[in-house]
Amino acid sequence: MTAIKTKAGLYRIVVIHYLVAALCFFSLPVMMLFSLKAFTGHYFHPQILAITHMAALGWGTMIILGASYQLIPVVLETELFSRKLAWVSFSLFLPGLIALVYSFWVFVPGIHMQCGAALLLVAIILFTINVYLTANKKKQQSIHEDFIFSACLCLCFTAALGTALVFNFTISIFSQDQLHFLKIHAHLGVVGWFLLMIIGVSSKLVPMFLVSSYQKTKLLSFSYYLIVSALLLFLVDSYFSGINYRTYLIALLGVAGVFCYLLFIFKCLKSRMRKKIDVPMMSTFLSFILLKIAIIIIPFIIYYHLKNNPVSIRYSLIYGVLLFMGWITALILGQTFKTLPFIVWVKHYEHLTGKVKTPMPADLFNNSLLKIQSLGFIIFCITFIPGCFFMSQPLLYTGISALIVTAAMYLANVFIMLFHKTKTYGKL
């Protein structure tokens, strides 16, 4: 038998990431509840910074790191280089995250913030080394590998620039103002890390979950080169000239890359053998819609920015909410129920399968809780995002309440899966 084996010890490192991410996700609406006014002002606000980093690192990145230890060996068709390195990375990442988010929240840019940023940077570098050495074990290169490794490099650069920005609060490192570099830091993270990583992994997983017959990777190659070119051009151009008329063209290049990826997903969807789309896959498709809405906002941000109109700040805030709380959150809310049940199922039932009747992976979570979670998330999207735009407190409160319900249901289902007890239904 020569299928890819999952090492038993991998289970703990993977699930600890899912558990911490679920707790961080639950903390997000609570933090938002105590900083409602911040959502009606400028995005460069201590509490918005704390929430953004909790969403980007504690929620989005934490779950991607955990899932990566399980999925990267699958996507790259090889075993993970080192589990010890994964544990060291996690042990540095968690205290780093707590220190950074807390010091942003109270806004004391001193030793705690600096140590937090430095710990996160080291943790991220160790993760990247682990991915690089895992990929190095494989002889053949694929476009998926290019996406994944480029994403890891971008995460390192994002963390390095973020650390420099933290130090810049107390020691003058940069001649330009903090906001100038914040754009570069944010886009390196959103486009370089999240977008490239999500495309790299999902372009293998979505066809597999849909049982799609579409196998061509040409669109993915176009997507990779367009997105990476757009990102590099944006970094260089905005460093020297800030936002200008060329930014429209650069954005267009990046959008063309995202379009190629979405076209690939559409082709997989059209050629799928599995006709029934389940709730987790619906949530995944909702995430693509939210990504498209975020992309539509980009020209408005550039336009109002060039006109020096303060409305650009409002659009930028909505853009950020759509990316972190919309696209990334919807994707994780769906894909958790496509990955975690399988990880738990393999641990409990792999040795029993074929001998006795066992539950299926989809039986390991509560489907009713998942439906309430999905409904809560849709209510959050249709109330909170317009609430940010119109600065309407009732809409913002409704959105946050719906997000609390979403996070509570999600957390409950994660607990149900992680504390699952093995059960069988008699001999086959």
Binding site: M1, A3, V211, F342, W345, K355
Partner: protein, 110 residues
Amino acid sequence: MENFDITDNLSFMKIEILETLRLVMDPELHINIIDLGLVYGVKIDEPNKQINIEMTLSSSYCPMGESILSAVKNCVESHYADYKANVELVWEPVWSYHSITDEGKRLLGI
């Protein structure tokens, strides 16, 4: 897929094994591996009491691959206690949509 050969003494047993393997389900698709067309052949080595199953997976990076293969081995050995099962994973011919049986297509809603 196996054909029934009336001159082969073991044909009936081979068909029985294939029917037994309908108990092994793909954990994601909830369809048995026979209707998915994953099993390519069954060979019985009667003197050595060994059953050889030749099969494939729908994708070489299937995270459940190892589970499906061990399910096949467990299933055969638990139903044919006197025999040892050997599962050989092959990638040729490549599994495709055409490998799914009519019943499998019906279950998938195609």
